[in-house]
């Protein structure tokens, strides 16, 4: 009889270990489907697009300046006397699709683009090692006919001469909390070029990356390599180096670059500055985001 009672008590006795960790009885929480976020602090590296999109329902107001060459000396106040500006608005239509428009003072160009994320990097709850996006931009020069750089009174000038298009594939990966790298191969299509020797379709590839220095400051670099024999020899490949500083709703991008223009045709195919010659400009981008539409956040599985 006593043996039965003792056995029962033994079966009932809660092992001391279980008291210490009740939650382990339940097992692990369901992992959430977490797409990688914050590979770059904003949607541009410096001039070129990053693999990040503006989030669904978010409007991003961007002001960008590029000043004159630093080697202009004190007379030009190290380039700050001459500035070109771009004002832009980007909008996240969905988490994968963003659109944007902008206007640059450089050749009074209006540009518009759409960027779509085909693949999103995912390291938690799913497996996708890279982010893959496609970008399509177009730009139109709105200068008056007589001010157009190619204007020739003896030749018919078509409206389509003012248009250029750029298509890029953006392929990138956030390797760690600190390091993100991406490649943008693409083609700039120019309806009108100066001479026969110049290509209407300029094939290029860019490499860009960021290294996060602190929680809010990152170092960015990008280089656009244009394949040889496509553009005039007076133009150079665009190289830019800068810092991203993020404060709450703003991202300040402060950098040095050799390119004047802030839209694809300008900085990829028409960069006059040469780093070797000291033709470096100081510039900045400021991004301010506003949440205009609060989508019902999908329940992550």
């Amino acid at each position: 009889m006593h043996r039965i009672v003792l056995t029962t008590l033994f079966l009932c006795a809660t092992p001391l270990a279980a008291q210490e960790d009740l939650l382990s009885q339940l097992g692990e929480e369901d992992t959430i489907h977490g797409y990688t976020t914050a590979s770059f602090k904003t949607t541009r590296v410096i001039n070129g697009h990053s693999l990040e999109n503006t989030a669904h329902g978010v409007l991003d107001f961007r002001i960008s300046h590029r000043f004159g060459f630093v080697n202009g000396g004190i007379n030009e106040f190290f380039g700050l006397d001459g500035a070109t500006v771009r004002l832009g608005l980007d909008y996240g239509v969905t988490d994968r699709l963003m659109i944007g428009i902008g206007r640059s003072s450089f050749q009074k160009t209006v540009d518009g683009f759409t960027k779509y994320k085909i693949l999103r990097q995912c390291d938690e709850g799913c497996t996708m090692p890279i982010t893959l996006a496609v970008l399509a931009t177009s730009s139109i020069t709105t200068l008056q006919q007589k001010d157009l750089p190619w204007f020739d009174p003896t030749r018919t000038d078509y409206f389509t001469h003012r248009l250029t298009y750029t298509f890029q594939v953006i392929l990138g990966r956030k390797f760690s909390e600190r390091l993100t790298l991406q490649l943008n191969p693409g083609v700039v299509h120019r309806n009108l070029v100066g001479r026969n020797e110049e290509a209407n379709d300029v094939i290029h590839i860019s490499g860009a990356g960021r290294f996060k220095l602190t929680k809010r400051v990152a170092l960015n670099a990008e280089y656009f390599y244009v394949l040889p024999d496509q553009i005039d020899t007076r133009f150079h490949n665009s190289f830019s180096l800068g810092f991203d500083i993020e404060t709450g709703g703003h991202v300040f991008q402060l950098h040095f670059t050799n390119s004047t223009g802030m839209f694809e045709r300008a900085f990829i195919t028409e960069t006059e500055g040469d780093w070797g010659n000291g033709d470096i400009r100081y510039g900045f981008n400021i991004s301010r985001v506003f949440t205009v539409h609060k989508p019902k956040r999908k329940k992550q599985i």
Binding site: T7, L11, L26, E29, V58, G248
Partner: protein
């Protein structure tokens, strides 16, 4: 016949058989194991300042409550907190909570005011929860009042509200945005337990 039956009752072998049957068939009642759990608890935190309000909600909180010992634990994955603004969620994880380094917020403690006898009876009970709360890798003791409503179906609906200070848990807030985040953040916990 009747006499034989009565003497059977006094037979120790029969008692042994009945007791063995009881032990096998009703283990939980005999042992007194009263464990309750949930995988869908809700925790909301709310920071209110004149500059802006910040609110995040987690609908996937896991928790276990042992009515026999009074032990209670819950865990919340930081990345499961949802916000109205995407950028707010990104900054919460990247800059403040550093959720890649500290993926969960965990509480381990005791709930007093609800013993294993009360657990079987529907009603409303005022309880006190005491224990250690670990957020961002920093553990701090905490005591909070709570209410448990036991409904007719045996579900324990536990709720509690308390204040925590982000700086107590090593969460660094830079001077630029100090006024955007309250010194004391209100946390609301709602856990509906079912018998495990």
């Amino acid at each position: 016949m009747r006499i034989a039956f009565v003497t059977e009752l006094f037979n120790p072998m029969l008692k042994l058989k009945i007791l063995s049957l009881a032990v096998v068939m009703l283990p939980s009642t005999l042992c007194g194991q009263q464990r309750f759990s949930t995988r869908n608890g809700t925790i909301t935190f709310f920071s209110e300042t004149p500059v802006e309000n910040i609110e995040g909600t987690n609908h996937k909180v896991t928790s276990v409550f042992d009515a026999t010992s009074g032990a209670m634990e819950f865990a919340a994955l930081i990345k499961a907190f949802e916000f109205e603004k995407a950028l707010m969620q990104e900054h919460f994880n990247e800059n403040y909570m550093e959720s890649n380094a500290y993926p969960k917020a965990i509480f381990k403690g005791k709930l007093t005011g609800l013993g294993e006898d009360e657990v079987a009876k529907p009603g409303t009970y005022e309880v006190t929860v005491t224990g250690d709360l670990t957020i961002h890798g920093v553990t701090k003791p905490i005591t909070a009042p709570g209410t448990v409503v036991i409904d007719a179906g045996g579900v324990l609906k536990a709720s509690s509200e308390f204040m925590i200070e982000p700086e107590d848990h090593g969460i660094k807030i830079p001077g630029v945005v100090r006024k955007n985040i309250a010194q004391k953040v209100k946390v609301t916990v709602q856990l509906d337990y079912n018998k495990m």
